[in-house]
């Protein structure tokens, strides 16, 4: 059973993960890998040079800004939730999408629970490794739970104030 859920165009699907997560002291096998931020800074260029896709796993306290210039070369940024209550990765995801224009995969890893699905999707996550064994259909339902949102985020949902403006013609 694949444990990665991918969210694309409003659909959630289970998918096999083609990336191998490497520990810092582990030799890189053939194929695509995800490495720590420290290892990426040290070896990212070499790993990429070997003809593979490289992803970076960023811990909750690490500065996402340090990746800004490398983002075009990065396939996946995996943001860690050490506990579901630790919400730092939401800010990191929004910065990746909205400030740095990252178009690759932003993956939620760690204590990733179904209850967090709507928040994660709104902040720009598009891949999830659920820690609670939940299924893609549950994630899709959770993402659709609320018909409206009040604020812009990294998804393209129109906030309430924009819908209201569209509904009420403004005299000029």
């Amino acid at each position: 059973m694949p444990k990665l859920i991918r969210w694309r165009n409003g659909r959630a699907t289970a998918t096999d993960d083609r990336f191998t997560l490497l520990a810092d002291d582990e030799a890189a096998p053939a194929g695509d890998v995800i490495v720590s931020l420290a290892r990426f800074h040290a070896e990212g260029e070499r790993l990429r040079g070997e003809g593979r896709a490289v992803g970076v796993r960023v811990a909750a306290g690490e500065a996402i800004e340090s990746l800004a210039y490398d983002l075009p070369e990065i396939a996946v940024v995996a943001l860690e939730f050490p506990k579901f209550k630790d919400g730092r990765a939401y800010s990191a995801a929004r910065l990746l999408r909205e400030r740095f224009g990252f178009a690759g995969e932003v993956r939620a890893v760690g204590d990733v629970l179904l209850e967090q699905a709507p928040f994660m999707i709104r902040c720009g996550f598009d891949a999830f490794e659920p820690a609670d064994g939940t299924r893609p259909d549950q994630w899709a339902a959770a993402a659709r739970r609320y018909r409206h949102v009040y604020q812009r985020a990294a998804d393209n949902r129109q906030p309430a104030f924009a819908l209201r403006r569209a509904m009420v013609p403004v005299a000029s």
Partner: protein
Amino acid sequence: MYLYDDIDQAMLADRVAEFRAQCARRLAGEITEEQFKPVRLMNGLYLQLHAYMLRVAIPYGTLDSAKLRKLAHVARTYDRGYGHFTTRTNLQLHWIKLKDAPDILDDLATVGLHAIQTSGNCIRNLTADPHAGATADEVDDPRIWAEAVRQWSTFHPEFSFLPRKFKIAVTGAPVDRAAIRIYDIGLRLGRDAAGALAFEVRAGGGLGRTPYLGPVIRRELPARHLLSYLQAILRVFNRHGRRDNLWKARIKVLVANLGAEEFARQVEEEWDKTDKAAVDLPDTELARIRGQFQSRGFQTLPARSAAFDAARAADPAFARFARRNVLPHKVAGHALVNISLKAPGETPGDASSEQMDVVADLAERYSLDEVRVTYEQNLLLPHVKLDDVPAVWAELSQVGLATANIGLVSDIIACPGLDYCALANARAIPIAQAIARRFAEPETAERVGELKIKISGCINACGHHHVGHIGILGVDKKGEEFYQLSLGGSGEDDASLGQILGPALSADRVAPAVDQMVDVYLAERREGERFIDTFRRTGLAPFKEAVYAEAD
């Protein structure tokens, strides 16, 4: 009064539907209490000492008759016929059954009430100046901006898992009636040199274990950029606030550790990079919200009312009520009428369903259908004609709501304490009742004048004891309830944190000690001095001596 449109209502309906499904899973045993806890907390449902407690949000303390009647109904139907108004201007129902919670939320939603973000590490229900829209000293109505923040902060995808809870208070007047210095963010609306609306922004205030008064981090923020600036503050806090220690996780610790200047610099740096237009409300939306807060129906009246003056002359009790509880309105011939929830012997902040219904009726008939909740745990009718004040007073008197003690020694803030709360070390309510009984005689209380007593049952300081003229903190000494007294605190424009008087006292000694300190004040006071003024001149010594002399 802001009325929810289809979008606002859909948000509430979706929320209740979600919670109903979650409750069903819990009641069926499909999820454990441990898994359910974060879910119920997101809906304001706490598990307390004896039962579930539901904390209903009253956004910026503003109610109309329909909302207040609904609260009365819910308290009567699902609880024991009363509710507790808190210092965050919410209403707590302390005897709730889990199976009823979704029905209660459905009921509340019919009038645009909810329990969203009344708990959890998110942006909580905002508080605002209870005099908003009624006071002559106001630069702009803070409710407009509070409603803008309410919407922006509701289910905020980035800021729903902050290091710790986050409380915002906002005022639109130079006089602070919203305690803006003791919250995570305090906002005061004014005008900049060019005459445009601008916020003075404070951050990092808070009470609890390590109290701080919030420093100003930006003097003049153009009002239209409020939301993008808040996003910048919250983002700095979300990323850099401490998460390793519950007691150091509030933004006050981050601001104190960085220093206000460095914190402000980081916020400005983040804000400079922010796409402000994507976050800030368009003028059309601000205008839409503003339009909903226009109070309509004021009559053109003379500044004085013969009926009001005659009632004052005829009845000393009404005259006292007029002196203590009635304040001038920005519209001639109108008044703000405070309703004290501090009748001596009663639980501070509690109101019965019957009382809520009476206040709702009075609001509908006499106050342009508006009621406010104050952070001092009282209610207020903001738009009463002076001509009608005697009738309002008479009806309030019928249900024990005409206590003329606003700002006096018996107008005590108290948290629910160990009578209800699982966190408390000691009871707060009986202490408040004992003190209020000593000053139950209205002449005595009035002779003492303004004296703000604030009682917390534990160091979390929900009763604001740090900023009481007299602060009382419940502590646990080997299983016994003791009380630490402090003097000289204030949460308003003359804000200061209280100084500890001396060793903690046993429960039976607290009210007598207050009495002794009042005696010191009455003996020492100079012309025009309030209790706190005398204390600031004399210092702790005479008060300490009076309280501890016989014990030594």
